[in-house]
């Protein structure tokens, strides 16, 4: 009897029922999306903690340059950091290239003879371009992790001394930060 009444009421209020059903479906999808986002963020955080084990995996050899088996101008442990970070933060190819350009430019500042004015100026131009490129590829909002490379590269006393000598050679310099079309290396 009651079931019959409900059926009749539903028939009479078809529009209301449809509206409520649509609303429920919408809420269900929205909740599902939020739950997905929550787990995605949680998993990113988890990966971030795992990733942070880099302090144990950084190369601490005695030379300034460190190992670069694939000869791409980037130390192998820094290559690995970029690779891991790109996966965690879902960087696209152009963003990965920009961060690699930055890692390479940073490595150059350590390995040049900073007393050589031309080499020092070129290295400075290199970091300037790489910063401009990172800002460009990340739509002016680069993730903080992309700028950790400088710290991770300068991770031994020998490397600090080399980097300090480079920065000392730059003291007094005046430089522009204007964007140029060729900031990103192709």
């Amino acid at each position: 009897m009651n079931f019959q009444k409900i059926k009749e009421w539903l028939k009479l209020n078809k529009d209301v029922v449809n509206a409520i059903a649509s609303l429920l479906i919408f809420l269900f999808v929205l909740t599902g999306w939020e739950v997905y986002k929550f787990f995605k963020i949680a998993s990113m955080f988890e990966s971030d903690i795992k990733k942070n084990a880099y302090s144990q995996t950084l190369d601490r050899s005695t030379d300034v340059a460190g190992p670069d088996i694939n000869h791409n101008g980037i130390r192998d442990d820094i290559d690995k950091y970029i690779e891991t970070q790109a996966k965690i933060e879902d960087w696209n190819d152009l963003q990965i290239k920009a961060v690699q350009q930055d890692a390479k430019a940073t490595q150059v500042t350590l390995t040049i003879n900073s007393q050589n004015k031309k080499a020092s100026d070129d290295a400075s131009e290199g970091t300037k371009k790489s910063i401009n490129c990172i800002f460009k590829q990340f739509n002016q909002k680069p993730p903080p992790s992309s700028f950790e490379i400088e710290k991770l590269t300068v991770n031994t006393k020998t490397r600090w001394i080399a980097y300090s000598a480079y920065n000392s050679s730059r003291s007094g310099s005046v430089g522009s930060m204007d964007d140029k079309d060729d900031d990103c290396v192709r």
Partner: protein, 305 residues
Amino acid sequence: MTIVFVNIIGKILLAIFILTVIGGLLRSCSSPLKNIFTVHQKSNKSVVIGFFNGVNTTEKQTQKNVKYLKDSFADIKKPIQYEYFYNYTDGLVNYNLEVFEQRMAEQPLLHNHYELLFDIMDEGGPIISSTIKDIPAAAGAIASLIETSHVLKITYLTNEIAGKNRSVKTSQVYREHLDKAKKFNKEGKRLIFLAHSQGNLFANKLYESLPKQTQKETVVIHVAPASQIKHGGHVLADKDYVISVLNITGNVFPISVKIPDADSRPPGLNGKIDNLGHGFVEIYINKELGTYRQIRKYLNLALSD
């Protein structure tokens, strides 16, 4: 018909001739009108904003800061050239390196973890957090290093204000900055100096070395000034714990703006929060804080001058 046409053309040419003569007279005469004309010329000069970095900053970090500075003023329609006038505090970095090496001898867990030095000098950062997660036993040693680095920074800045850190290298830095500023001036560019922390000492020195006429056209904006002299408006946050400590040891300028406590402070453009309240990007050009609005006010004033 032809006569009327020739007559009109003749009158137009005569009017052009008279206006050209009056214009020429105005340009060459030494009356107050000339000054009006000159002021107008000045306001049309292109602008260079020169940024002067604070202590413990690498050139790469300075380049990045200027990029953020440029980004935070991106809505200004006037064409502006952003330049950095770099200075490096070798002495302070070397002190930090020495202390770090000594402490690491006492704390083998941190052996050769020099990547920590950047964050230690910044008194916090992601490398510190991750290292403590990896090596919890190192937390005490890191805290102690931060404390020592803080004392070194304050001592260094106090000596800098008192002029005790001057060296041949410092004079060379001044000279190089001056040469470049003169070059900009020669190119017809007007200078606006935006100096942060210790950078104020370099900006002051450069301003004082400029010819009087160039000084008149130059504006200095002092941000968190670690100096006792100023040549323009200053911006100092009430919770800037680096400059407030300097206030105990040497006179610095009064607080100009209040900012929220560190735990309720919005991150800066670089996504970071600076607990010390002193960071240029985290605090002073953070669009959510009054510090940015004050800098912007001084900048707008300078640009409309």
